[in-house]
């Protein structure tokens, strides 16, 4: 039941966001920049996730919540 609501939530959001999409295909120059990438420096990201996974109880959100190590 919870999952169903979640799925609806996501699609609802998509439709909502799609409705206000004002960016045309030829206007993606800014979002294509290196500085705008969601994972700009993969090693920074993995170092942070690794450290926080080994020191804190939470996991996931930005990516999968597996840890891949015996550090927690």
């Amino acid at each position: 039941m919870k999952k169903t609501i979640m799925t609806f939530g996501l699609f609802g959001l998509t439709i909502l966001l799609g409705g206000c999409a004002t960016v045309q295909p030829w206007e993606r120059d800014v979002t294509a920049r290196q500085s705008m990438q969601l994972n700009k420096n993969a090693n920074f990201t993995s170092a942070h996730e690794h450290i926080y996974f080994s020191k804190e109880a939470s996991a996931g959100g930005r990516s999968f919540d597996g840890g891949g190590c015996g550090c927690n």
């Binding site: 045309q24 030829w26 993606r28 120059d29 294509a32």
Partner: protein
């Protein structure tokens, strides 16, 4: 002298592209009395050819509809109406409404009914100015406020004419670019006789290099502009003017006086998001004469002004 408005200066010696530059595939044709060039930055020559054909068809469609030189154009029907209301389609209506907004926005400096002045003003570099009486005779035929716009109906006063000269080519460039960008993700450049727009940076992220004669005619090394997005248009033509008694009359006419704008720059190149916006802004800046630079600065436009 060249007046250079700031912030467009790109750093020199910027990171070079990763690979040898692959040349975009170019498709050339003539439309609207201008050489037209469609460049597709991709390896698919077949697709580029297809897009070129599509662009050519759209340019000719727009020309056939809005040219005042073609007798069968929708515009010619309007211009021949002699005071009777003419029904026009949605696109034409949208363009007329647009022209109306530009007229209001510019306090009458942008007026698509001013084309009749070209009958008496011939900018051939000579000193032949029209007679005062000739100008006065034409003035009743000029003025957008004399045009009535209804729902899909336009009514001109007898003898009046509409000229899409300041809009049509820019509209065509924007239309064609949007049309092609829907068909491909490859970067595209649409250039109709110097009025141009790009879909985004080149494949390798570099800007499109565009030679613009009027930007820096004395310095060939500075004669190219880099453009990564948006549009560029140029108003003014260094070769079209009249010279009498030491006064240089530019080919930009003020619709309110029926006379050329005095003190206008030789040319103005404007960068904006769309070709239409760039075109209107550069035309308006021209019409401001000596105040062109101030107008552009107030509008915070990227522009090159050549005096």
């Amino acid at each position: 002298m060249t007046f250079f408005l700031p912030v467009m200066a790109g750093p020199k010696g910027f990171i070079k592209p990763m690979h040898k530059k692959r040349k975009p595939v170019s498709h050339l044709f003539m439309a609207m009395n201008s050489p037209c060039d469609i460049q597709v930055d991709g390896d698919d020559v077949h697709l580029a050819r297809e897009l070129g054909a599509l662009a050519e068809a759209e340019a000719h469609r727009i020309e056939a509809k809005y040219s005042r030189y073609q007798e069968n154009s929708q515009l010619s029907q309007v211009n021949r109406s002699n005071g009777t209301p003419v029904e026009v389609d949605t696109e034409m209506m949208a363009l007329l409404t647009y022209a109306n907004s530009c007229y209001e926005l510019s306090d009458g400096l942008f007026d698509i009914t001013s084309g009749v002045l070209r009958r008496i003003w011939r900018f051939d570099g000579s000193d032949k100015l029209p007679a005062e009486a000739e100008i006065e005779a034409l003035m009743p035929l000029i003025g957008w406020d004399k045009v009535t716009l209804g729902k899909n109906v336009v009514t001109l006063k007898p003898g009046m004419e509409i000229d899409f000269g300041g809009l049509g080519k820019e509209y065509a460039v924007d239309r064609v670019l949007m049309l092609l960008a829907e068909k491909t993700d490859s970067p595209i450049l649409v250039n109709f006789g110097g009025d141009l727009r790009v879909s985004g940076p080149r494949r390798d992220g570099s800007p499109w290099r565009i030679a613009i004669e009027s930007v820096e005619p004395d310095d060939p090394s500075a004669a190219t502009l880099g453009i990564k997005s948006g549009a560029i248009t140029t108003s003014g033509d260094a070769r079209r003017f009249l010279l009498k008694g030491g006064v240089r009359y530019s080919h930009i006419l003020n619709p309110r006086t029926g006379r050329p704008v005095i003190g206008a720059p030789r040319s103005i190149t404007v960068a904006a998001r769309t070709c239409m916006e760039a075109g209107i802004i550069s035309t308006l800046a021209m019409a401001k004469g000596p105040d062109a630079e101030r107008f552009l600065r107030d509008e915070e436009m990227a522009a090159w002004v050549l005096r």
